[in-house]
Symmetry: D4
Subunit: 253 residues, 8 copies
Amino acid sequence: MNQERIKELLENIRDGKVSVDRALERLRNLPFEDIGVAKLDHHRSLRTGYPEVVYCEGKSIEQIGSIAKVYVERRVNMLLTRAGDEVFRIVRQIEPGAEYNSEARCIWKTYDPLPECERPVVVVAAGTSDIGVAEEACVTAGTMGCRVEKQYDIGIAGIHRLLGVSEIFEKAGAIVVVAGMEGALASVVGGLTSRPVIAVPTSVGYGSAFGGLAALLGMLNTCAPGVAVMNIDNGFGAGYFAAVVCRDSCADK
Amino acid sequence: MNQERIKELLENIRDGKVSVDRALERLRNLPFEDIGVAKLDHHRSLRTGYPEVVYCEGKSIEQIGSIAKVYVERRVNMLLTRAGDEVFRIVRQIEPGAEYNSEARCIWKTYDPLPECERPVVVVAAGTSDIGVAEEACVTAGTMGCRVEKQYDIGIAGIHRLLGVSEIFEKAGAIVVVAGMEGALASVVGGLTSRPVIAVPTSVGYGSAFGGLAALLGMLNTCAPGVAVMNIDNGFGAGYFAAVVCRDSCADK
Amino acid sequence: MNQERIKELLENIRDGKVSVDRALERLRNLPFEDIGVAKLDHHRSLRTGYPEVVYCEGKSIEQIGSIAKVYVERRVNMLLTRAGDEVFRIVRQIEPGAEYNSEARCIWKTYDPLPECERPVVVVAAGTSDIGVAEEACVTAGTMGCRVEKQYDIGIAGIHRLLGVSEIFEKAGAIVVVAGMEGALASVVGGLTSRPVIAVPTSVGYGSAFGGLAALLGMLNTCAPGVAVMNIDNGFGAGYFAAVVCRDSCADK
Amino acid sequence: MNQERIKELLENIRDGKVSVDRALERLRNLPFEDIGVAKLDHHRSLRTGYPEVVYCEGKSIEQIGSIAKVYVERRVNMLLTRAGDEVFRIVRQIEPGAEYNSEARCIWKTYDPLPECERPVVVVAAGTSDIGVAEEACVTAGTMGCRVEKQYDIGIAGIHRLLGVSEIFEKAGAIVVVAGMEGALASVVGGLTSRPVIAVPTSVGYGSAFGGLAALLGMLNTCAPGVAVMNIDNGFGAGYFAAVVCRDSCADK
Amino acid sequence: MNQERIKELLENIRDGKVSVDRALERLRNLPFEDIGVAKLDHHRSLRTGYPEVVYCEGKSIEQIGSIAKVYVERRVNMLLTRAGDEVFRIVRQIEPGAEYNSEARCIWKTYDPLPECERPVVVVAAGTSDIGVAEEACVTAGTMGCRVEKQYDIGIAGIHRLLGVSEIFEKAGAIVVVAGMEGALASVVGGLTSRPVIAVPTSVGYGSAFGGLAALLGMLNTCAPGVAVMNIDNGFGAGYFAAVVCRDSCADK
Amino acid sequence: MNQERIKELLENIRDGKVSVDRALERLRNLPFEDIGVAKLDHHRSLRTGYPEVVYCEGKSIEQIGSIAKVYVERRVNMLLTRAGDEVFRIVRQIEPGAEYNSEARCIWKTYDPLPECERPVVVVAAGTSDIGVAEEACVTAGTMGCRVEKQYDIGIAGIHRLLGVSEIFEKAGAIVVVAGMEGALASVVGGLTSRPVIAVPTSVGYGSAFGGLAALLGMLNTCAPGVAVMNIDNGFGAGYFAAVVCRDSCADK
Amino acid sequence: MNQERIKELLENIRDGKVSVDRALERLRNLPFEDIGVAKLDHHRSLRTGYPEVVYCEGKSIEQIGSIAKVYVERRVNMLLTRAGDEVFRIVRQIEPGAEYNSEARCIWKTYDPLPECERPVVVVAAGTSDIGVAEEACVTAGTMGCRVEKQYDIGIAGIHRLLGVSEIFEKAGAIVVVAGMEGALASVVGGLTSRPVIAVPTSVGYGSAFGGLAALLGMLNTCAPGVAVMNIDNGFGAGYFAAVVCRDSCADK
Amino acid sequence: MNQERIKELLENIRDGKVSVDRALERLRNLPFEDIGVAKLDHHRSLRTGYPEVVYCEGKSIEQIGSIAKVYVERRVNMLLTRAGDEVFRIVRQIEPGAEYNSEARCIWKTYDPLPECERPVVVVAAGTSDIGVAEEACVTAGTMGCRVEKQYDIGIAGIHRLLGVSEIFEKAGAIVVVAGMEGALASVVGGLTSRPVIAVPTSVGYGSAFGGLAALLGMLNTCAPGVAVMNIDNGFGAGYFAAVVCRDSCADK
């Protein structure tokens, strides 16, 4: 529609119906999106190949269903996070090929996969209770074309196990460290590697863990360089950031 | 410069050197500001007549001086907040007509005054220690063309005095209430008037006042409708908001 | 009753039964409300035409019902906020013409509508989850005689869409910005317009959003002037404040 | 029992069976409660006549029942706070004369009433949602022999109503002010009276009320002298403190 | 002035110049203070005999001097808190009989002393560093006619000393407990006595004492009944509240 | 396996197949755990004899069951904390001799008991609601071979009872103090004894107890030396720490 | 003195001057310390041999001097913490043999040393800036007869160095871990040893370290068992607690 | 030394003086660093070529000097952060070629530069007061071989300027966004680009900015994906992380 308006304006210039100065004036006042903002968005989507992401918490099943329908129709890669069983039931009706990871609470469908990265994204989780958040990171990085290596239940209380896998870190494109309680695992991993570490505090813990605040503050104040921090329980954000960084680190980017 | 580029493009269309489709493509990719963003900013400044504001805290005397010089040269109305004596000394050298209110810590020069509002902005301060913040609000509203009526030292511990001036509230274009400690004055004024109240918590107090947090929370949780809140000690913001609202409320806006 | 007492006193003066000094003494000690406080309240209600508001949270169905009954009998405009289906069932029995917006959780009945404002109140919501709070603002402003324009799902992650609607802002009587998470939308809107912005943080988000605290602090610390802040999730307060300001900004106020 | 042991020791001294030095040695090592601690407690209980108080939250029905049984058997005045219907069912079986206030969530039985105070404890509540806490204060003060005058729904948004009852304050032995949200009512009442005010913040409110924190900080930072503060929702504590102070203020103490 | 206006109105009624209805109308609209608010304030001051209090923090020497001058001229009892040496120098020039307690940072002059109370106000301080706040309480209660008994350096780490003075508590009109760090002293004293305890947290401590927050929370959450709390370091408030309560508890009130 | 690799290397040196320098190079690069980390862990387990601990919160019944199965098969002492009835049902199927304390929410099986300590671990709980946490400490210390003496419902509001049992403290190997609300009990016990006190704040309380924060801050800021603090509700941690310390204090360690 | 009074009473019983019932009455009312409390305190001091401790912050030089004088005269072991150069100058005048550690800000004089412990207290500090607090712990443990082994600048960013010294941990009587920023060192050390770890967060760090809060929360939420926590910067408390525990762990206790 | 011990052991095996089993036993107990930990650290330093970093806050001039001397002697690239003029004076004496950026408060010397990256690190700063932190990021990334492009004073209040430079973002290897107050700039930049954004909140602001907390929470809760967060004012950390990521994104890595 707006495209049409601009085209018409340009045709009028060509046809001498509108002077250049007048056209200049008009262009200046056109709302920005009229100059193809949706297209620009599309362009970016095409260039990156990253999936469209739907954060399901706080949305009704109906809202989610209608959003998914659009993506399925356009065959756009999509990733639904914080999605439970009932969401999956709806999405599967729309797209039977949709995949679901119930621990990660993620649903996804990749129509047009990105070439796989050479280097893996390594996802480390401190305890069993942190696995949900870690899996969200894994699924996210996976839908963005990254190979994921998981190292779970490898907290600092048994630091020897951690040292045993430290060689894996150096080969990683990026490392995601998921930990609750005091979150010290991020510091220890950051001290063992020179690869970029994305730390995700989790709300695992009790008492003065204050819903992940202790881990968050711990990670922000790490004495190891090369550690950046995401919001509490934000596995998606960590997986996304790690995938962006990891793709950069590979020859086939 | 960018203007030139667009003009050239349009002339090329006119002259048949560039096809409409091609021109459309190019326009889409032009950075936004190329379509006259500075002008838009300028337009707004001309339309509102509000002064350019310089927040001096964290800026060096040299930085402030060079900014002020530009405004003085262009004869743009200007207001410098959080400015001490040493800033005034510099500004007075550049513009001898600059005015200074040391309690408000504000310096200003109005080359092109706005027409004065019919209704006043009423500024109420709870205690003697709140006056600095209140004065900042007064100066700000004044430089935006508002008449200001001050009601200081009128805390709720002596609520009768407050009731005595409540008629003034109803005539106000907007009311700024400045209070520290528990900040209850905003609720009381809000309960007495149907005019818009802009509440400014101050860092006045000690102990569990926590630098204005008690007053801030008190004002945010007011049970009186028609009260909106600014940051702690943000007299400028309150004066600015009140002036915008007040001008609207007047016939001569 | 009290009126009677005062009248009697004055008649006694007139009739010489009471000396002026003695009458003076007595008047001084009359409780304030005796001098027509209820009337003053009434007067204000008549003058503003704003609805009587009932905040339903923490009140029993019975309490709400009996309050509503009084307003219905007196045909006073009324607005019930934080009201669910079960409240609506009761109110509809009392006043079949009562309206209900379940997203806003608001019930209202306007017997005596205010003249509609010329300028709209624009309500902007960042995400789908913020719509409940935004709708509360819309309903509130609506019952106060304002025309409302809604711009939902227009967060800063897709800033181009926001720029596309920025012209609407300049025509607004007041703008309400509803946003959770980091609440940055208020700053962006505040930077785009010179109209008054009323920012409402919402409890949407997780982890370090801390129930709306992140958005609240973000909005209070905005670098854009002309932004005032309401309590977390206080859609009613924002709609009320916006309506007061908006009515002022219109010729037909 | 312990009394017996001490008595025996003293008799042995009297009878020359134990030397003074040896007795001295023994007395020094007797556990404190052996010297009649229970009695001292008893003595205090007898002297004050205040009821024994059982805080029921976190206790099982069985535990509460067995504690109540002891008091009933000894005919000791008792007060159970934070008690629901199911607790009342048990207590009524043990003592059919027990009384219950479901709003206050209090159960009590007064076997031996204190003489009633001359001056009342005045309990002021800001809003309908604060009534539960206010009633807890009323019941508590009542079981301690105080006459209670209630002034509910008298928030500062309608300050005229408050001024209308301010004469009642001056006659009070003590005033309890119960308020949530911003808690400003305590400051206003404190500014109107020279009688001692006991302020109780409640967890009523939402968003940045933070479960009563806003009201608590507001009350602690009041600019009115003569206001002391209790924990959030601590109606019992306020009623108790008010009763102690009120009894002192009366001739018949 | 206003008195004059009212008197004139009444005289006009008496003289038949103004009808009763018209006079009624006018009276209703008179600002409240016109009906003798200053007098009312005066009346209260006369009735209580409490000193006028000036909180000096955040006021300039000049402001304090001019306030003091008024009180000295009217021979009104006065108390200046948070006052240093330089304030005392000024006040002494105005009133050579002014007294000064540098630990308490209080200056006062009592022209018209209240009759001394029978029961003392007992002020307990946990540690040496709490003495400044404790002294502020002592001076305040003293200027309000109370006899003060001090028990300093009597923290719970040496609980035996505390038990040794517990008899003093029972004779007190009110007990002020001043403590920093964990503030547990208030709970211990509250557990030992049935007299009203006013707890004052101090900012003494380090680390997680958080400027008195630990002590404040400790005192608010005391498990001992009969303890009310003041703001951090608010010795004045405690002394004032204690004096009000103490006077009530005495025969000569 | 790794052992084998190292052995092979050493045999190659012995047999002259690998030079010393080359072997040195290889050894340097062996991952740490290859040098018997599992064994080291095992060694420690054998040396201390402490049970393996499973924190059940956030783990599925299946996960807990499979962990327990391993320990039962290896006959390793085990302790499951934060375990409810449904966990016990599973564990009892695997090991019918497993014990369960439902107040402590702990399940344990001791195949190879440690010799009992001479000195007891004394566990003091302030109120009835603190008993769950206290029992967790008791069970933990018990499974680590400590005799436990319980002193419950001994809060500071009745300090005489506390003094009566203070002799028990001096005989303790370590003292665990469990308290919610203001947590002052830890300070009082710390002031009465020279034995090490491990303080556990609990989430018992309401309002400004903030889920145990008040007690936590109180305990951290205790003025009594010899008090160390655990996380809120961490009965296990306290029992574990106390047992380690207590065993040290005994002749039979 | 009080001893005398009790003795006299007992002699009067013996001599028949006072009846048993009357004596019983009197004994019950004797203040507690009359039964030899000072002696009890003395006894404890003699039994433990720990120094008397003076916390100098917030005390005047005069106050500290007069306290020190008493200890010097009685030749009581003493330790002054948070003491600067000017305090040392005074103390050296009173006791020329006083020792001073300026990093620890501690002054001490040991007249009567405790026998040295077999096992050391190991004090680990994460960074150079934590050394002041660590030294305070070292001095404190030293004055209580413990041998101290220091391991400084051994943060987790270089975890290999930490592993290199882990054998030292196992020989320790107790381990003090001093760390700021995220405080993860305590978790790592706790994971490496089965000896008791006393963790001291420090106020080292910036931004969201919030004066030691990040480290404090990190340590409280450690996933390693056997770690107890002290207040921020409380090196004294850690040294004291470690020494008590360490003495217990040694044969020569 | 340790190397020698291991070599000796291996030679003994070779020479048949020690059996393989015995050697195995010994190797297992060697402290980890004995197997060349320092070398490993060295290896990493050689591999990455990143400078050794000294955080100067809390270190004495002497300590800093002696650390710098070691690096200068070994000709190791070094970077000193949070360093003022007086530190530079010392370092320049040791290494006259050291460079100094006083706004960044950074000193550095690069003996062995890394090859320059193809893509730049783009550093965006919201306001003038954020420049110090931004410069620290620039210097850090620069010493790690990255080309830096600066975009300062480009806050969201003038969003058009930001849009004008958005093309630069897409070419960046990584983007550092430095902002105080509400920190919304990170969200806006994150919404404009698909490149990785590293957000640094600054302590710039007042009132409820709470030393950078508002900006920190805002950035953590950003609704834009691809944004990771550093500690408040941690320009170094952001520059370091950006450089690691940026090098990965370049062909010449």
